[in-house]
């Protein structure tokens, strides 16, 4: 049988590291049912026993004020684990003990993991683990999760507790009148087991238990108690818990020498300075961006080369026809389309993991909070939006780091407006064809429109769907620490795996479908008379015109009349759904030039004849804002579900249309 272990603790105390130490690579992530809170679970075996481990979200208490706390509360109520591991930060023990007090009262076998004892020692703290264990009534294990120290002892303790299960031996002392009330409720409930009964009684007094009812006499005595002490009962209970935590802390923690030089505060003087801190933040963001895209770029090229050579190899093996086309153009290309995002994603999460672990992320959120709030966003929104300038796919994945659903959604919904690098070839083509005199200015104006649209839409969406966000910032800034290398790598690996599994399958399927729609129905050129042989370019042109996609393009042409986009342009835009760079190559094929890219002079000449400068500009605006590519849609579905993804598709198209129309109107008026 598999035993269930749950790990609970405050944020920033090394919980994830401990989880990694226990489960190694055998982990998986998903979401807790019904909410957008991440759920991490894993497994391991030890001493011929099998264990399943659940990493509960980091919380400060189980009072259900935030969605994470609700998740933890629900979990302990509905599916209590066989063993509860409470991990605490030894350098800040007193505060952590409050949560410990709450956990003890859940009444399951529990182990306290005293983590970061090396740092505690450095600050001159001496913690009497034995006394701590006696006063808390549970076993205590000292660990340094970062270096995997103490894991063996922990495992031994877990096994011991499984073989001889015992509940926490401590009862938190409430004032004696309160104890009387607790006792009388407990008796009237008739629940088996003193601890369970007490737990239920406390739940009722705290107002959390609505199913069980108390009799009028007890309700009366509660009111009397509250009047006498001039305090609601729930405050009395929490006050006692604090007293307990304080008392334990006072008895078990001794400061053996004066506190060491407070490095964290000294660094914070610079990193959180309103001006200086912002500059440093900018530098870190620039470095991140460089890391992800400048290093990722060559790797991506290698992958593309690899995919191409595999495609070539397979093409030479398979006979021409449906199967070869399906495998080479559809499947292998589709796979390539997925793999090509992998380097960026891995590098991005490597960087994010590093920044989080060192504690810098919190400072970044602090320093940008002001600016971001003015934009209707949040401090941590900065990273996804910045990354979005390179590629929106990892940017959407990066929104995981935000705290509330509203922040995640709003940020994710406006990040696609940050012009990604795949759209650059489209701008390059049109700008050099029509605006060769003011290239820089026009390019800049496009990026600017993107940013402004993002800000405006962030405000509108935020207000429309979530109402006025009045939750003020309340965030802990953990002390600066060296990152745990293993943790960072594990995070990177898990995210990459998740991307491949979930988004990957969607992209692959969609690529095959899009291949089909572009290549069928197959135009038959064999019936042409000998004198009218078509060039390969002309064949491609005819093929695309007669395909399902082409027919669709012609079908929606009237809708684009106001923008002066003919069916050829519409087709280009449609194929841009697969990947934005494809817009250029599609236009090349449609205009009969065969394989081209944005540098082709032929293509530029033809386009100059086909459309006007104003149309070209509004086309670029449209490309900037409309439906993000397949990759983005896939990760969006994975992160936020179908409902919000359909909204994304719908509203980006509408916004693109409207703004492009506006641009056209202004263009026609002035130019």
């Amino acid at each position: 049988m598999t035993y269930k272990i749950a790990i609970a603790g405050n944020p920033n105390c090394g919980k994830t590291c401990l989880f990694n130490n226990l489960t190694g690579a055998r982990q998986k992530t998903g979401n807790w049912p019904g909410v957008t809170v991440e759920q991490k679970s894993g497994s391991f075996s030890y001493n011929n026993l099998d264990f399943e481990v659940i990493d509960l979200p980091g919380t400060y208490s189980i009072s259900a004020y935030s969605i994470e706390e609700k998740v933890v509360e629900k979990f302990v109520k509905e599916s209590p684990p066989d063993i509860l591991i409470n991990i605490v930060d030894a350098t800040n023990l007193k505060r952590h003990l409050y949560f410990t007090a709450q956990l003890i009262e859940i009444g399951v076998p529990m182990i306290l993991v005293l983590n970061m004892i090396d740092e505690a020692e450095k600050t001159g703290l001496k913690i009497d683990a034995e006394k701590l264990s006696t006063m808390l009534g549970i076993p205590v294990v000292k660990t340094i999760a970062r270096t995997n120290f103490g894991t063996k002892k922990l495992l031994a303790e877990i096994v011991r507790l499984i073989e001889n299960p015992s509940l926490p031996k401590t009862k938190i002392d409430y004032s004696y009148q309160l104890e009387e009330t607790i006792e009388s409720i407990r008796k009237s409930l008739n629940i088996e087991g003193e601890i369970q009964g007490r737990k239920a009684a406390l739940a009722i007094l705290e107002g959390k238990e609505t199913a069980l009812k108390i009799d009028a006499k007890t309700e009366d005595s509660i009111k009397k108690l509250e009047r006498k002490f001039n305090e609601p009962v729930i405050d009395m209970i929490e006050g006692s818990r604090y007293g307990f935590a304080n008392g334990v802390a006072r008895m078990c923690i001794k400061k053996s020498r004066a506190a060491r030089f407070d490095l964290t505060s000294k660094i914070d003087n610079y990193l959180t300075h309103p001006v200086f801190g912002l500059i440093i933040f900018g530098i870190f963001m620039w470095i991140t961006f460089q890391l992800v895209f400048t290093i990722g770029g060559p790797v991506m090229n290698l992958i593309e080369l690899g995919v191409d050579s595999v495609a070539g190899l397979v093409a030479s093996i398979l006979p021409e026809g449906f199967v070869q086309s399906l495998v080479v153009d559809g499947i292998i290309n589709g796979v390539g389309g997925v793999l090509v995002f992998l380097p960026n994603i891995l590098l991005l999460f490597l960087a994010i993991g590093f920044l989080e672990d060192t504690g810098y992320m919190a400072r970044a959120a602090f320093v940008t909070d002001n600016i971001m709030h003015k934009m209707g966003l949040h401090g941590k929104s900065f990273i996804p939006m910045l990354v979005g300038f390179g590629c929106t796919v990892p940017a959407i994945m990066a929104t995981k780091g935000l705290d509330t659903k509203k922040q995640r959604l709003v940020t994710a919904l406006v990040t696609p407006f940050m012009s990604c690098s795949a759209r650059a070839p489209v701008y390059a083509l049109f700008i050099s064809a029509f605006f060769s005199k003011n290239q820089g200015l026009i390019m800049f104006s496009i990026y600017l429109v993107g940013i402004l649209t993002a800000i405006i839409m962030a405000h509108i969406i935020g207000l429309l769907f979530f109402g006025k966000d009045k939750t003020p910032l309340l965030m802990e800034l953990p002390p600066y620490r060296l990152p745990a290398f293993k943790s960072v790598i594990t995070l990177m690996w898990m995210r990459g795996k998740m991307f491949l599994k979930k988004a990957g399958t969607i992209i692959l399927v969609a690529s095959v479908v899009s291949w089909f729609l572009l290549n069928y129905p197959k135009s038959d050129f064999s019936e042409r008379p000998a004198g009218e042989k078509l060039t390969p370019a002309e064949m491609s042109q005819a093929q695309i015109e007669n395909s399902y996609f082409g027919k669709f393009g012609k079908f929606i042409e009237p809708a684009f009349k106001p923008l002066d986009f003919d069916w050829k342009i519409s087709m280009g835009l449609i194929t841009g759904f697969a990947a934005k760079e494809v817009v250029v190559s599609t236009l090349g094929i449609i205009y009969g030039l065969g394989e081209t890219n944005e540098k082709s002079d032929n293509l530029k000449d033809i386009i100059k004849k086909e459309i006007s400068p104003v149309t070209a500009y509004s086309l670029m605006i449209f490309v900037l804002l409309y439906i993000p590519c397949l990759g983005v849609v896939s990760v969006f579905i994975k992160e936020f579900g179908f409902k919000w993804t359909s909204f994304l598709v719908f509203y980006t198209t509408v916004v693109a249309y409207v703004v492009a129309l506006l641009a056209r109107g202004i263009g026609l008026l002035f130019f």
């Binding site: 400060y60 208490s61 009072s63 004020y65 935030s66 350098t91 800040n92 007193k94 505060r95 409050y98 949560f99 929490e238 604090y242 964290t264 505060s265 914070d268 959180t272 309103p274 919190a362 602090f366 909070d369 002001n370 009045k470 003020p472 910032l473 309340l474 965030m475 802990e476 800034l477 953990p478 002390p479």
Partner: protein, 210 residues
């Protein structure tokens, strides 16, 4: 002659002469006036001449400038204004003294008679009521490095509980690590460093430790 009849510059000169007279046996010297006001002697001579014409200053000797009775009257009014405003900035708004001095110098000329008298009324009212009773200040009005004990959190229970779970509850000692205009406040409570948005911080009342 009323204060309002004088320009800002003239008021500044009057105030300076008053200040220097108090310090140095009842008169002020030209060079000292010029130095204090950061101007060149010729400019100072011109303004002083004007004030002499208005009957506010006398110059019995070249390097001895004194206030006339009327001048003294006006100067006292000015000093009074300055001190009241300074008092308001330092003790009520908790602006650090150096900055408060600078701003008081700028503001004192701008306040008209009515506004000023209302300010005085307000300060009197304050003195007699809440400040004496409680002596707590909201977190937003504390300065970097100041420490205090948390006395009260106003607003819903939810807020208080969230704060409490993070270690910020009544009785705990708090130190201000950073309080810059418009930005969230950073505090240290025990070993925890916590950033609190201004809207929430203003509802946390602290008793300052001297």
């Amino acid at each position: 002659m009323k204060l309002e009849d004088l320009t800002d510059t003239q008021q500044n000169y009057l105030e300076t002469v008053y200040f220097l007279s108090e310090k140095y046996h009842g008169f002020a010297q030209l060079v000292d006036i010029a130095k204090k006001l950061n101007v060149k002697s010729p400019s100072a001579i011109e303004v002083i001449g004007r004030l002499k014409d208005m009957g506010l200053l006398e110059q019995p000797r070249r390097d001895k400038i004194i206030l006339t009775e009327m001048g003294l009257e006006l100067a006292k009014q000015l000093a009074d204004k300055h001190n009241t405003i300074l008092d308001f900035f330092v003790n009520v708004l908790r602006v650090p003294r150096a900055l408060a001095e600078e701003d008081a110098c700028k503001v004192e000329h701008a306040l008209g008679h009515l506004t000023f008298s209302r300010l005085c009324d307000f300060l009197e009212h304050l003195d007699s009521e809440s400040i004496e009773k409680d002596n707590t200040v909201p977190l937003t009005m504390m300065n970097r490095g100041e420490k205090g004990q948390l006395k009260r959190i106003i607003g819903g229970k939810g807020k208080a509980n969230r704060l409490a779970a993070m270690g910020i509850h009544e009785g705990e000692f708090i130190e201000i690590l950073q309080n810059k205009r418009g930005a969230p406040i950073m505090i240290k409570s025990g070993e925890s460093r916590i950033a609190i948005g201004r809207g929430l911080a203003t509802q946390i009342h602290v008793l300052l430790k001297e």
